[in-house]
């Protein structure tokens, strides 16, 4: 029987969502154009050539190396693109993704990328045309709710703050706004430089929808072990596994074998 990865334990909807993120089996909710994604990222003008840091690998004459023969280069690496990044901040108010699961998604599903996990933001670096594709997947899929997850290259403050009155995550640089038609628009790129045109990032999810799709355990939604005030808590398998890993790692060092 072929091996089927299990990715993450737990029977709660949070556990199910975490498995979906890690496996890359994501539901596509919207379709941003490539030009829109490139515009928000702000590394190059849409339609312009990709600047390169080295000639295409085919022209370089690579050394005789068994690893290079085994691994097919990504399109960006083959073309010699620059390394570029996209970074997302996710609200703690039931945003669909959280930094760890964006990183798991990146590390498992995206070739040639370098995910960086921080407390309130998550960055993925890769060759330019690869990162554009990976960013589009994130923005199009259920990993992103435009109101609760914003692409923020700098001044990312917002993850752990209360939401604005209109349900948008606080943004010090006012990169996004809720339009009168109910869609969220990017008016600035990820580092706060104003755009020539607004970019439609789609409609925000409803409260019920975010609660259903989130990968965050919260006491007011799905908690690790039932209500905090309950006399007896039934711990989710995810937490039991986490305790198990913590115990083993603390006692003997984490050595999965």
């Amino acid at each position: 029987m072929a091996y089927k990865p299990q990715y993450y334990p737990g029977t709660t909807s949070v556990g199910v969502n975490r498995r979906k993120h890690m496996s890359g089996d994501l539901e596509k909710l919207r379709d941003l154009s490539d030009a829109d994604v490139v515009t928000i990222m702000g590394h190059r003008a849409p339609g312009s050539d990709y600047p390169s840091t080295h000639p295409p690998l085919a022209e370089m004459g690579e050394p005789d190396c068994p690893i290079r023969q085994l691994v097919t280069p990504t399109p960006g690496a083959a073309a010699g693109d620059r390394i570029r990044y996209s970074q997302f901040a996710d609200s703690m108010y039931n945003a669909p993704a959280i930094p760890y699961f964006r990183s798991y998604w990146g590390a498992i599903n995206c070739r040639g990328c370098d995910p960086g996990t921080l407390s309130g933001r998550q960055i993925i670096e890769a060759r330019e045309r690869d990162i554009e594709q990976y960013t589009k997947v994130q923005m199009d899929s259920e990993m992103t709710d435009p109101a609760l997850a914003t692409m923020r290259g700098c001044t990312v403050h917002g993850h752990s703050l209360r939401l604005d009155e209109d349900g948008m995550m606080f943004d010090m640089l006012a990169r996004t706004e809720l339009g009168s038609d109910g869609n969220v628009y990017y008016v600035k790129d990820q580092v706060g430089i104003p755009l020539d045109r607004k970019v439609n990032a789609g409609k925000p999810m409803s409260d019920a929808e975010t609660k259903k799709r989130t990968t965050i355990f919260r006491c007011d939604n799905i908690s690790f072990g039932g209500p905090c005030t309950a006399e007896k808590r039934t711990l989710d398998e995810g937490l039991i596994t986490l305790h198990h890993m913590w115990e083993r790692r603390s006692k003997w060092g984490f050595r999965p074998e």
Binding site: G42, G153, C154, T155, H157, L161, R162, L163, D164, E165, G167, F170, M172, L173, A174, K188, D189, V191, G192, I193, P194
Partner: protein, 164 residues
């Protein structure tokens, strides 16, 4: 900072579930001010910079944060934060109900009002560095943070306001 009273003042914190838009904050403060008995008001929240502080866009003005004013009584202050918390000192305990009613009228989301000691009563080291050994008006203690500029971040309302 308007009303003189013989009764024991109380301090309360208004903590809305969501950050307030400038217009909502303005309406709320007007309602509270109208009900009277206000000794001190402090609004607090995350900073709204006037220009991009870091990165490739450093220095680009943020138009959305310009020209936001809080007008109260005969004074106007430039709003430099997203209002997330309001501290009030009221001249007596009975005013709390009026503040609560004002919040219920204006705030679109739930909120909490807690009574506690909010403003510090003795000068701190920062106060000493800022105001010297003698603080002229003790009501200023705890009202603004150490880096605040008095003429920019603090307004003193006349005694004729409030209690209308």
């Amino acid at each position: 900072m308007v009303t003189k009273s013989d009764t024991e003042p109380v301090q309360v914190e208004i903590f809305p579930q969501r950050f307030l838009k400038p217009a909502t904050a303005q309406r709320l403060l007007e309602e509270i001010y109208k009900s009277g008995g206000i000794l001190r008001i402090m609004v607090q929240g995350p900073n709204l910079p006037r220009a991009v502080p870091y990165g490739p866009g450093k220095g680009i003005p943020i138009e959305e944060h310009m020209n936001m004013l809080l007008e109260l009584g005969d004074q106007a202050l430039e709003l430099r934060v997203k209002v997330g918390r309001i501290w009030l000192e009221l001249d007596n305990e009975e005013r709390i109900e009026e503040v609560k009613a004002a919040c219920e009228r204006v705030l679109p989301y739930t909120f909490s009002i807690k009574r506690k000691q909010l403003f510090h009563t003795k000068p701190t080291v920062s106060d000493y560095a800022k105001y010297g050994s003698e603080v002229e008006d003790k009501r200023i203690l705890g009202l603004v943070d150490p880096k605040a500029k008095r003429e920019r971040d603090l307004a003193i309302l006349s005694d004729t306001g409030g209690d209308a």
